[in-house]
Symmetry: C2
Subunit: 158 residues, 2 copies
DNA sequence: TATTGTTATACTCTATAACTATA
DNA sequence: TATAGTTATAGAGTATAACAATA
């Protein structure tokens, strides 16, 4: 779906030359591309990606979470979740444990190392945000966030 | 890099439950995800993707463009560009033609059908933007665009 | 009979390297 | 020697289907 967001951020000239810069949607897209690119680059230090960061965040936030629940929560295929949990378990960030009342379920829990690295990832997110949005004043940043929330409220009824 | 943007938009609950909604970066990310998802869905009607839409836009904007130039412009691997131009040529949207002064180059040009479908894609982009940003007033939309440009100016020196 | 987790498999997408033709 | 284009091939990522265990 989003092959363009993959790969390098690309030549700055395309910003102007594609003549898409008047499109507010393209501006959003470009900003997100830069945000993600920077974030993933720094996140490599704790051996995480945006997606595994979301997974750890969810597991931390709503324990105990089954793999199916996690799958639905972040919109990732169940089989992919299995593979990713395998990776996170091998990294020592996550532990599977059989649910006692429903022995089909694997409850997902963070290990101490998982909590440590999730905290580090949160710090990376803070840093990157501060850096990318540094051209804005605090008030402007709030305005930007409020407007974005207003748009999302209509399409993402949380 | 952005596996999370792939696939379905996911369960709305994650917006709140991931506790990331306070992060302005996450808000940007979510908005872009919804924008892209909606855009690609509608773009299927003209057999294009976000990436091939960018390609057609670039070819339209800066003819004659070689495949290498296009590759650098949109930050996509040259071999991938070859495959994608193959697709676009098969769709009848693009024509390759040998450059006379440098016979190594293939100049890329839009066909009539290519121009027609690019115009249709532009209309789709307009529609989707109008729809997604409909919760904002015109003034708010301008503010949003201005703030985004201000952020980008620092990281994307066009 | 439905659900959770898993594996095996196929499919798509992308990148690497090697080749050709031109410069 | 370098560049534009191409092809072949291998790798990663993802999804589909089938299966085991449990409800």
């Amino acid at each position: 779906m989003t092959e363009c967001l993959t790969g390098p951020v690309g030549n700055p000239t395309n910003f102007a030359s594609l003549s898409l810069s008047r499109r507010v949607g393209f501006l959003s897209y470009k900003l997100t591309q830069i945000l993600l690119h920077t974030f993933e680059e720094r996140l490599a230090a704790v051996k995480l990606t945006t997606r595994t960061y979301f997974m750890l965040s969810a597991i931390d936030r709503e324990p105990p979470l089954s793999q199916q629940e996690l799958s639905r929560l972040i919109g990732v295929d169940p089989t992919t979740v299995v593979a990713l949990v395998d990776d996170l378990e091998q990294l020592g960030y996550v532990k599977r444990s059989r649910n006692r009342s429903d022995r089909r379920r694997h409850d997902l829990l963070l290990t101490a190392a998982g909590r440590r690295n999730l905290a580090a990832a949160h710090r990376v997110a803070d840093e990157v945000e501060a850096e990318i949005f540094s051209p804005l004043t605090a008030a402007e940043r709030d305005t930007y966030a409020d407007l974005t929330r207003k748009v999302l409220a209509n399409h993402w009824p949380a």
